[in-house]
Symmetry: C2
Subunit: 154 residues, 2 copies
């Protein structure tokens, strides 16, 4: 085996290692975050939808799916649940009758105003394993990784 091949194998080992570590770290972090969110009586998907509406305003149901990265059939389910909890409601679009907006109720608005700072605090605590400068680096690197992963490599 020539030197060049050896290096390439090493690099693949590093990639594999990174994938494994990324997986584990994410799983640990998600578990903790999930636990925080459970305190508010929600799961991560429900919270993500509320957060989107809270920060970006009313959204067509379909847009929610692409932002929160879940399938259209799953959104219907989540929106139903949040509607039952009276945190959001459906509002038909007057111009395009195919579209239904999801919008925070007063109650939902109030709810998010209360819990979001706590949630942010919790995430900050959970991510306390690295310094701020490292976080900034990781953000850049993860963006590159994510963007590249989405590209077509075939």
């Amino acid at each position: 085996m020539v030197h060049q091949d050896k290096n390439q194998n090493d690099e693949k080992d590093i990639s594999l290692k990174l994938f494994v570590v990324l997986n584990r770290a994410m799983q640990s972090i998600k578990k903790q975050v999930e636990e925080d969110i459970k305190r508010y009586g929600l799961n991560q998907t429900e919270f993500a939808v509320l957060e989107l509406l809270y920060h970006k305003g009313d959204q067509p149901i379909q847009k929610i799916g692409s932002k929160v990265l879940i399938a259209s059939s799953s959104i219907t389910y989540v929106v139903d649940k949040l509607e039952k909890k009276k945190l959001i409601r459906r509002k038909p679009c007057p111009n395009d009758r195919r579209i239904t907006y999801a919008t925070l109720t007063e109650e939902g608005e109030e709810f998010m105003k209360n819990i979001f700072p706590e949630h942010k605090e919790a995430i900050h605590d959970i991510l306390g394993g690295v310094e701020i400068e490292e976080k900034k680096m990781m953000i850049d690197q993860l963006k590159k990784l994510g963007t590249y992963a989405n590209k077509d490599r075939s």
Copy 2:
């Protein structure tokens, strides 16, 4: 608001940002990896179990759960599926009759020998967004993040 408070808010924003980016990157990467694994007729959990047995040898079913990070009830399900596919089989432990080992069949061994290099290659391709030195840094940082997240912070 005094200067100190402002900095702390900034830091929390960075943490939140890191969490969001981490989530997104992971989701993109996982989706691609899942797609690769699907080519072999498996899902990520099934593959993770096979990989564990392939690299670490026979494992008590309960050990699999803690390594692959899924609940005991889920393992039963996954092991059942892999057994139906004739890739692994259950083998009772002679010393301790509570324990059942999962072990690769000949077929499973052969299977992994064939596909694992391809899989590794695929992951390497998917993670092509950053250079090798950055990968090494990320591995260290993610380990720190993961370890810290698992700690008790209450």
